[in-house]
């Protein structure tokens, strides 16, 4: 029941302590992590969108340069001049020398016929009139196409422009080298899985991705989610990995440059941080749990101990209260019984006195009378002894405190017994110990203890012997050792020696209360009496008394 109470208390303390230490710790670490992750993600997004911006600028520049040089050529030369294959080839070379990245160059007349062509494909004389880009050029003047297959059956894109010459119009068209373009686009690739590619408005790939796709295949990326400027989006791919996409529209919002990056890969550092944080927090929690349990246990144990001591003290107080009450009662009873006893004794004595008178001498029953009276006296004496013992046992159980000098008490007690000891040739030796402090205790009770021990020692010796008394001061207690070289106490009696009414002396010689009274007195003072004895060699009693410093008056 008690144990459960403490266990309960311990559980409660541990629970509350852990709660109030864990909640802020976890809250703090989660917040910090969240903030950090937020910041980290922001950084990554910023980085990727920056790359997208830079890359789109360089792509735009690439296209502009190529468009510009083509425009320059168209402005500089006439249709006739350009129809000459040699001239066109010369221009193609110049263009590739200056800016590069062209695969072929062709001149198309207003009917759509490919008039002159410089390039690796057999496209001369092919008619482009029905091609969609042809009309775009006609309507817009300058046109950069999406990627398409065209007659060559190879994905490519072109830059075309129309020129008006007096009564005819013509178109100069150049194909951009997909490899060069793709290489340019891909310079934005980062890391093991980062990618950079372009899709058109409808979501078809304009360049090859790093892994997999065919040009012109439909991308599963919806271009409409990317707004103006640079937009960063986060998507799960088929494998369930988080991919960050940064998109930026270029070429008059016809193309979308997409730079992708595996967020998971980028976040590795963040994960590492997270792991570290988790490890630290876990370790911290474990430490908190450990110390909390440890200290709580210790506290509870202490509490339990002090509670127990308190209870013992209370029990002792109750006990000594009882003894005090018992003592008072015994004193009252003793007095009340003693008076009639005294009267009985006197009356008996008187009767004995009278029996000595002559008239009774011849009485037949004189002997019987005398015997009876003698018996009465004997029993009065017996009752007297019982009362005396009872009083000794019960008297003044309440210790009253005064300044006690143990040396003085011992010497005084020795002086009580000195003459008796001398006649029996017993020497009692005690050298006063100047280290002994004055303690607050009950003088007469302590005296009673030493008197009991000394009379026991004297009785144990009988005749011719030595009693050595020594005292010592320890930190918190005084020990007094009474050693005699008397007959000793048999082993089987040693455990019972402090029991009331236990005596090894001849009946009538001892009440068997002395040691029991001493034991109770010393125990009530918070001390101990122990004994060591060997039959035939002697007995050593050790009294330990706590040092209670007297109050300054």
């Amino acid at each position: 029941m008690k144990r459960r109470l403490y266990a309960n208390l311990q559980r409660k303390i541990i629970f509350v302590t852990l709660l109030v230490s864990f909640i802020p710790l976890i809250f703090l670490s989660v917040t910090i992590y969240y903030q950090f992750a937020q910041m980290f993600k922001g950084k990554i997004e910023e980085q990727i969108s920056y790359r997208a911006r830079v890359q789109s600028n360089s792509i735009e520049l690439f296209l502009k340069e190529r468009t510009a040089i083509l425009l320059a050529m168209a402005d500089a030369y006439t249709f006739d001049y350009l129809s000459d294959k040699n001239n066109l080839e010369k221009i193609f070379r110049i263009m590739n020398n200056r800016v590069g990245g062209f695969i072929d160059l062709g001149l198309i007349d207003s009917s759509g016929k490919h008039v002159t062509y410089i390039g690796p494909y057999k496209l001369l004389n092919v008619n482009y009139y029905s091609e969609p880009w042809f009309h775009e050029v006609e309507s817009k003047g300058v046109y950069v196409s999406d990627v398409f297959m065209g007659y060559r059956r190879v994905p490519h894109f072109i830059i075309a422009l129309q020129r008006q010459e007096t009564n005819k119009s013509w178109i100069l068209r150049a194909t951009i080298d997909s490899d060069v373009f793709e290489t340019l686009v891909r310079t934005a690739q980062v890391g093991k899985t980062g990618d950079a590619f372009i899709v058109n408005k409808a979501g078809f790939y304009q360049t090859r991705m790093r892994f997999g796709n065919e040009i012109l295949s439909k991308s599963n990326l919806n271009p409409t989610i990317f707004g103006e400027g640079t937009t960063v989006q986060e998507k799960m791919n088929a494998e369930g990995r988080k991919i960050l996409y940064a998109g930026r529209w270029l070429k008059n919002n016809n193309w979308l440059l997409v730079i992708s990056q595996d967020a998971t890969e980028e976040m590795t550092r963040l994960f590492k941080t997270k792991q570290m944080e988790i490890i630290i927090v876990t370790a911290g929690c474990l430490m908190i749990i450990f110390t909390t349990i440890f200290t709580t246990r210790m506290t509870i144990r202490r509490l339990e101990n002090s509670d127990r001591k308190m209870n013992e003290l209370n029990a002792q107080l109750v006990h000594s209260d009882k003894l005090a009450a018992l003592g008072k009662m015994a004193a009252g009873v003793a007095h009340e019984i003693n008076n009639p006893l005294a009267v009985i004794a006197e009356k008996t004595g008187w009767m004995e006195d009278l029996l000595t008178e002559e008239e009774f001498q011849n009485s037949q029953n004189l002997g019987e009378y005398k015997k009876s009276l003698h018996k009465i006296e004997e029993h009065v004496e017996r009752a007297r002894k019982v009362i005396h013992g009872m009083l000794g046992f019960a008297r003044r159980m309440e210790p009253h405190l005064e300044d006690v000098d143990i040396n003085k008490v011992i010497n005084e007690t020795i002086s009580f017994l000195e003459s008796y000891a001398r006649t029996n040739n017993i020497s009692i030796i005690y050298d006063s110990n100047p280290d002994l402090p004055i303690i607050a205790s009950d003088h007469s009770q302590i005296q009673q203890v030493f008197l009991n021990l000394l009379t026991n020692a004297v009785d144990a010796i009988g005749k011719d012997g030595t009693i050595n008394i020594s005292s010592k001061r320890h930190d918190l207690e005084i020990s007094v050792i009474v050693k005699d070289n008397g007959q000793g106490i048999p082993k089987e009696y040693q455990s019972r020696i402090f029991e009331p009414f236990f005596t090894t002396k001849k009946s009538g010689k001892g009440t068997g209360l002395g040691l029991s009274v001493s034991y109770n007195i010393v125990r009530n003072m918070g001390g101990t009496i122990t004994l060591e004895s060997e039959e035939g060699k002697g007995t050593i009693f050790t009294v330990k008394l706590p040092v209670v410093v007297p109050e300054k008056k």
């Binding site: 006893l341 005294a342 004794a345 006197e346 009356k347 004595g349």
Partner: protein
């Protein structure tokens, strides 16, 4: 025949009477009273050698009576009678000047010894006085 006179003081009448009878039977000039006040009255009037005084009595208690006796008759020797519960009072009495004490129930012979001892002491003192008085008269 004893030459001293004894005054018994005890409020337990039965005890007093019996002890008185026993002492008288031993040819001791003994009188008895039941209280300290009566004892003092008698002592004022007539010289008594010894007093046997119960320490626990109704009215004036033993110690107080003793002090008064010692005040009016310093040479009177007092023996205290005590029960077991009041031995310390008897001891206190001896410190105040009582000659000795005895426990109740009393052994008459023991009481007699103590009375004789007490009287011896008183007599020594009286002899000193007597000598001095004789000296004075011879001058």
């Amino acid at each position: 025949m004893y030459e001293f006179s004894v005054l018994l003081v005890d409020d337990e009448k039965e005890f007093l009477d019996t002890l008185l009878k026993r002492l008288q039977k031993r040819k001791i000039k003994a009188t008895g009273v039941g209280s300290g006040e009566e004892a003092l009255k008698i002592l004022e009037e007539s010289p008594t050698d010894l007093v046997v005084l119960d320490v626990r009595m109704q009215g004036m208690d033993g110690i107080k009576t003793l002090r008064e006796i010692k005040k009016i008759r310093p040479l009177v020797e007092v023996i205290m009678l005590t029960g077991h519960a009041n031995v310390e009072v008897a001891v206190e009495g001896m410190e105040v000047g009582a000659f000795d004490y005895l426990m109740k129930p009393t052994d008459v012979d023991e009481l007699l010894y103590k009375l004789e001892d007490a009287y011896k002491r008183k007599k020594i003192q009286e002899q000193k006085i007597k000598r001095l008085e004789e000296e004075k008269n011879t001058e």
